[in-house]
């Protein structure tokens, strides 16, 4: 069995509220699997069940072939977990944080010291090793949280929004390190609401919306299937809109969506349509390639879910 994480009809209820509503997915050995969803979609809840800190309401969930209900300690010993909120220990220095964390895994002190040096170096934190946690910037805290998750040399990493709130430099550094870890054979499951992050890092993604998986596939495949080849964004007032919509409705092979003051025209692959030939006019017209964000917004709707 090469499924490292396997969920079948997984459900999580808090009282009468269903946060995760029957999701099924599997993560294969060595891949990077992404959970894409808006705020409140149920990403963290799913992660917390995988990391055995939140009990499953119903359904099946196995990690590395072990049942989360029966073997929480063994599963937790094998996972590297990066929680959504940094929960570093502010009473301890950077290095002590890692040392104490390693002890929770019952690892040999010498081995822990070696791993601390390695992961501090990997995340360029060696110079900060004696600093207090409160003195670190949020980017450094995030890096340290990821470094901490490597202390038990996990083969499976679970990362909940690894780069939310980071500046572009820090994000790229984290991406680069995650790609490096993946190249070392680590299986990864991550959540994000950054489409570029998912496109950049993930082999496969699922889009989760209000506790359900609505679609899954490779980022490129999803863009092709739901976003098409090209997108035209036409910004225009109400006056001219009627005429344009009529013309677009007459054209074949287009998908049209109106959102507030913008009309989106999706040109599907293989239609042989040249969008510039449509001679679309508005106060501003943008021709661009379709991306994952188009897929996401089309499938989950453009309104706020929370």
């Amino acid at each position: 069995m090469s499924d490292i994480i396997h969920a079948h009809e997984l459900v999580k209820r808090y009282g009468t509220f269903t946060a995760v509503d029957g999701v099924s997915f599997s993560v294969r050995a060595g891949e990077c699997f992404g959970f894409l969803g808006a705020n409140g979609a149920g990403k963290t809840t799913t992660i917390r069940m995988i990391t055995c800190v939140s009990p499953v309401t119903s359904g099946e969930l196995t990690v590395d072939g072990l049942d989360v209900r029966r073997d929480p300690r063994r599963i937790k010993a094998a996972l590297g977990v990066v929680p959504q909120e940094n929960n570093l220990d502010p009473d301890l220095s950077v290095r002590q944080n890692l040392r104490v964390y390693g002890r929770y895994f019952d690892l040999e002190p010498r081995l822990v010291e070696e791993r601390i040096d390695e992961s501090l170096a990997l995340f360029q934190l060696t110079e900060k090793q004696n600093d207090r946690i409160d003195s670190l910037s949020s980017g450094l805290k995030r890096r340290l949280t990821i470094a901490r998750s490597l202390i038990n040399a996990p083969r499976i990493m679970v990362l909940d929004e690894p780069t939310t709130g980071l500046d572009p430099q820090a994000r790229h550094l984290v991406w680069q390190k995650l790609r490096y870890l993946r190249s070392q054979g680590v299986t990864m499951l991550l959540t994000t609401h950054y489409m570029d992050e998912a496109a950049h890092l993930c082999d496969r993604i699922v889009i989760i919306h209000q506790g359900k998986i609505i679609v899954g596939g490779s980022p490129g495949g999803l863009v092709e299937r739901f976003g098409g080849r090209e997108v035209v964004e036409i910004h225009m007032g109400d006056a001219e809109r009627g005429a344009l919509m009529e013309r677009l409705a007459a054209a074949e092979g287009l998908m049209v969506e109106e959102v507030e003051d913008i009309v989106y025209v999706y040109v599907l692959e293989g239609d042989g349509i040249d969008p510039s030939a449509l001679k679309l006019e508005g106060s501003k017209v943008v021709y661009r390639q379709a991306n994952l964000e188009d897929v996401f917004l089309r499938l989950t709707g453009r309104g706020l879910t929370e």
Partner: protein, 266 residues
Amino acid sequence: MIDIALRCLTIRRPDVSLRALRVWQRNRDVYLRLWKSEVIWPVVDPLITLLALGIGLGGLVELGDNREYVDFIAPGLLAIWPMWAAAGECGWGSFFRMENHRTFEAIVATPVSIEDVITGEILWGATRALISATYILVIIAAFGTVDSPLAVLILPLAVLPGIMFASIALCYTSIARSISSLNYFFAVFITPQFWLGGVFFPLDRLPEWAQRAAWFIPVTHVVNIYRGLTSGDVEWSHLGDIAWMLVVTAIFYTIAVLSMRRRLVQ
């Protein structure tokens, strides 16, 4: 629906292991990092009490049997300050770690279980009580209030009331909504024991019903034993005090584990 209700009712067996010591070690490391700033209070407070009440007020107090008042209150201090130490650690200390620092959340993502965390916290609270008892034993011995070498037995014994008060405090912490609501616990539960646990006056001065009520005050039993050990008058009834503490400790430890789990496992 019934199915869900039933599942909520089934009680999962507490999963305690030796990994609780890892949590204890974490707290110890933090203490060792900060101990210079913390070392002074466990010494100063009892010293002031001993001087003000024992020597100052004590000059005005007749106990009847030729005993000095300072000798009378010394073993009581050995009971109440460690009680404060354990309750403070598992009250304010644990609440801070749980809510403000999210330390528990970080720990349970490792192979340490929530029951291990709770047990480790209680053991650490008991350790703080032991540290405090050691300081105070040295101080009261220096004041010449210890008459029997049996008093050294107080040190290993101090772990039991330490666990007891730590467990009681953690029970309250598990239902506290904010750090300020912990003040109620100390005002309603800890401070009255300070005054009514037989530390500052013999309980037989109180009316019959109040003496009976004092039996339910945990610190009374600790004071009884310590008074016996410092004076050398050890009685069989002290075994009863120990049994009382064992039972109460077992009850509150169990409640602490179940109630903390209810709060933290969602």
